[in-house]
Structures are given as C-alpha cells and as structure tokens.
C-alpha cells in the first residue's frame, strides 16, 4: 500500500492495519518491494504509538537516541529498540504496558522449564488484531472450514490462560467437532484411536497439539504396531517447542517420517506453527514445509554478539520480532530463538519472509512452553505407575 493510499484509508476512518490483516492472500501476492513498503508503514506507525504512550519504552528509545522520525526505510527497522522476552517474566512487567491495566481484556501466559510464567496482556484492540490475524492465517494455509479435530492437549477449560492451547483452540471454531484428549493429566492412546475410528468416513480427521504429545501418541502406535490411516484432507498441526524437558531435541524429520508411517499422511499434510505468547505474529508451514511469516510483520535475524546488526539472509541468528498488531505492549521483541530466513523464492509462490527454526539459544535458561511441562508430568506419572510393578519378569 503506497503512502498516499495508506493516508487515504485513514481519511476514510479505516484502519490500514486491519485492512492488511484481512488481506493476507493479497499481501502474499504482492511484489517484495511493495510488501516491504507496507510493513515499514505499519511498523513505523506502531513504533510511534508506543513511543507516545509508553513512558518506559520512550525512555529506552531516548537513551538509544531513536525516535519515530528516525525510521524512514526498511533498513532503519533495526534501530527500533527491542524488549528482551525475559521482561515478560518480571514481576514488574506492568511497565511494559502502553495502555492502562483497566484497558486490558485478556491475559495469556506460557510457562517453560524455569516454571516462571511469561505473561502477555492484550487490550481490546490487540485482541481484535490477533483474532483477525490468527483466523486469516489459518484460512490461508489450511483452508479448513469443516472436519474433526483430535486435540492431543488439555482443553482451554482446564488451562484457559495458556497461549498455545488458546491459539490451537481457535482452530476448533472452524471445525464441525473436536475433542480434547488430555484430561486431568491423563493421556489414554486407546481412547484416541477409538475416537479417530468413530469419526472415520464422517469427517476429515485432524490431529492437533504440541509436538511432544503427538510424538507420545505415535510412540504408543509404534509399540503396539498400530498404523492409522488418516484422510487425504487431514492435517497434523503442531504448535509448541521441539526440545524435551530432558534437553533432547525432537527431530522434525523423524517426527514427519513417523507421522507418515503411523498416521498415514503425506509430508504436505504435516504443518508446524511457530509462535510465541508474547507476539501476535506466527510463521506457519505451507504445503512444501516452508514457514511463512505473517506478511504484515517483520522477522529480523540478529547477530547474537552484536544485536543491532542483522545477519545475511540464510545465516542463523537471534530472532527479533517486529509486530505492529500489539497495542497494549510494544511488539518489538528480542526472542531467545535461533532461526534463519530462507533465501530465494518460495516454492508456493508467496511473497514475504520464510524462516526455519533452528533451536533455542544455548545460553537460554528457558525452553519449551507448557507442553514441555505436561510431557514431563506424563513421564513422571508413567514412572510412578511402573515403579509399583513387580520387578520379576519371568
């Protein structure tokens, strides 16, 4: 959207951001330069908004000698001060608010291995933006409007504030039916198989959840030598960390292979989502397994040793997210994730950034989301159950 059109949209009393949120397909079809221009306008506006409304953030900007006037080109986005993600865990994280606490509509959290929750607060405007964004992106990449979802995670009723579950639960609104299979810390693979069988030939069956819990289901199928054949229109949709509580990484390649073998799907049906509770942007696998960044936001990959410097496309670095959807807190976040942006053109023909998740920063004390704790809890319960067994084997 050229600058004059941006201004014209505002003159009509409309929001250029909300227009962008509902035009995902069109944005992915834009020439790269035009898309970059639009992102610059949206992010610059958001930067100006937080600069004006957030004393803590403005002081940080003044200290670094940057104001909204200093953002003129897409290259200038690296000058925008970043909020380290650990600040969301601090007990005085109210200083991150650009609105009053009474304007906060919703709190979401994620808890990793440290056990300290990262709490993200959203005002009504941010919730509007996030909802528009999540549904537009789900529609763009999944085209789902029917089917049945087997959720291998606890329900939002059990843990209503957990960001990962909330984001996955929004997908349920597009389905005909769904069922959460983890209740009160119980995980019964036999029930999952029975539910899939009950839905067979009635609905396209999707399996949705964090990688560890889907992997746990596959481990059962493998041990019992059961092979499920899902439908051609089925998806395996994952959101959450790939590192276990023990520190072991779950291999994406191995996970895909096991989904193909034990759930009877093709690689194009396995879709992972990268997202953080602190951000409203995500990166989501297309049918070729390439993760596309939400087109109205910007992923800036920094040199971990010199954080104001971007690494070249294709090189691994520390992810900074520039999220113009966030109105309650500055959406300019320095994550603890190592990623790389993919060079060249996308196989699906979409414009914009594509990324590959590499790993959590080795020095990070934190990894995973609540899924990593659920996985550990299930392991502990299994261990407790097996320790009561008679040790005599024959």
């Amino acid at each position: 959207m050229p600058y004059n059109m941006f201004a014209e949209v505002e003159n009509f009393g409309l929001s250029p951001l909300k227009l962008a949120l509902s035009s995902v397909k069109e944005l992915y079809a834009m020439p790269e330069e035009k898309l970059a221009d639009l992102k610059l306008l949206l992010i610059k506006e958001a930067f100006g908004y937080h600069y004006e409304n957030n004393k803590f953030y403005r002081n940080a900007c003044i200290e670094k000698g940057i104001s909204p006037d200093g953002i003129k080109t897409i290259e200038d986005l690296t000058k925008i001060p970043l909020v380290p993600i650990e600040l969301y865990k601090s007990h005085d994280n109210h200083k991150l608010l650009s609105v009053g606490l009474n304007d906060i509509e919703h709190e979401m959290r994620s808890t990793g291995t440290s056990g300290i929750p990262s709490v993200s607060r959203r005002c009504s405007d941010t919730v509007d933006n996030a909802v528009l964004s999540v549904y537009s992106i789900y529609r763009e990449f999944f085209k789902i409007s029917k089917g049945a979802g087997l959720y291998l995670c606890p329900s939002t009723e059990e843990i209503p504030e957990m960001g990962m579950i909330k984001a996955l639960n929004m997908l349920a609104g597009l389905l005909d039916t769904h069922r959460f299979m983890m209740r009160n810390e119980s995980f019964v693979p036999e029930d999952m198989i029975e539910q899939l069988e009950n839905w067979k030939n009635q609905f396209s069956r999707h399996i949705i959840g964090p990688p560890f819990l889907i992997n746990r289901f596959i481990r059962y199928l493998k041990a019992a030598n059961i092979k499920v054949k899902l439908d051609k229109s089925s998806y395996i949709i994952t959101l959450g960390g790939w590192k276990r509580f023990s520190g072991d990484m779950l291999s994406r390649q191995e996970f895909n292979q096991e989904c193909i073998e034990y759930l009877g799907v093709e690689k194009s049906q396995i879709r992972d989502i990268y997202g953080l509770v602190e951000s409203n942007l995500m990166a989501i696998d297309d049918e070729h397994g390439e993760k596309h960044v939400s087109p109205y936001g910007h992923f800036s990959v920094r040199d971990p040793k010199q954080l104001d410097r971007e690494v070249a496309v294709g090189e691994t670095g520390q992810l900074a997210i520039l999220d113009p959807l966030a109105r309650s807190t500055p959406g300019f976040i320095l994550t603890e994730d190592l990623v790389r942006l993919l060079p060249g053109e996308s196989a699906s023909g979409r414009s914009g950034q594509r990324m590959q998740y590499i790993m959590r920063l080795p020095e990070s004390k934190e990894f995973g989301c609540c899924a990593v704790n659920l996985d550990k809890r299930l392991d502990d319960l299994e261990l407790e159950a097996s320790s009561g067994n008679c040790p005599i084997v024959a």
Partner: protein
C-alpha cells in the same frame, strides 16, 4: 476487568522485595502452568513484623500477594489462623470469574503461613 483494589496493588505494590534472612519462607503455585508467589516473613512474639513477597503470574495474582502482605503485617499469627474463608474472600473485593482462582491463592497463602509458622515454632 480489574477493580481499583487490584489495579492499585498491581501497579504500585508496597511489599515486593526480599528479606535477607527470613524466619519463615514459603512458595505456593502450580508447577505446570500457574501463578507463583514466594513469601518471606519475620515474626516477633507471634506477630508478623516484617513481610515481603515476589509473584509471577497474572495481574490479579500479583496484586493478591500484596493484599496478603498488607493484611498480615502487624497482625498476630493466632488472629490470622482464626480468619475465616468468608473474611479472606471479602479481602479481594469484586472479581471477574477468571480472577476467582486468586481467592484460592489467598486462602492458600494464609494456610501455608500458619503451617510454616507452626513448623518454625513461631506460633
């Protein structure tokens, strides 16, 4: 969404901090996904004379830590052990349904303080 009581105790808490060598120290919370509150207390002759807390979680639970400390400071442990569930609930004022879990947190803070005080011979 938030009452003035919660806003004030969240934005401007009086008791956030640490005590160097506390007589009583405890933490409550949910190990998987929930809020965490750590409390440090010193007592003299069965009366709480110093208290500090740190909390991690939703705004209401952070405010709950401060409301607890404010109500406990200078109170006798025997009076606190007699505080009823109804009195504890009333301390939180008006809450939305999604904030009601903080009444449970406040109850647990009371119960744990008394249990820990007994274990340390302070009550």
């Amino acid at each position: 969404m938030y009452s003035a009581l919660i806003v004030n105790h969240f934005i401007d808490p009086e008791f956030v901090g640490d005590i160097a060598s506390p007589q009583i120290e405890f933490e409550i919370g949910n190990s998987v996904c929930g809020d965490r509150i750590r409390v440090q207390v010193n007592t003299v002759a069965g009366v709480v004379n110093d208290i500090a807390y740190r909390a991690w979680g939703c705004a209401t639970s952070i405010a709950t830590g401060d409301i607890f400390c404010e109500s406990v400071k200078d109170a006798s442990l025997s009076d606190l052990s007699a505080r009823s569930d109804h009195e504890i609930e009333a301390m939180m004022g008006e809450l939305e349904p999604s904030q009601h879990h903080c009444i449970h947190i406040l109850n647990e803070l009371h119960r744990t303080l008394i249990t820990e005080a007994q274990a340390k011979g302070a009550l």
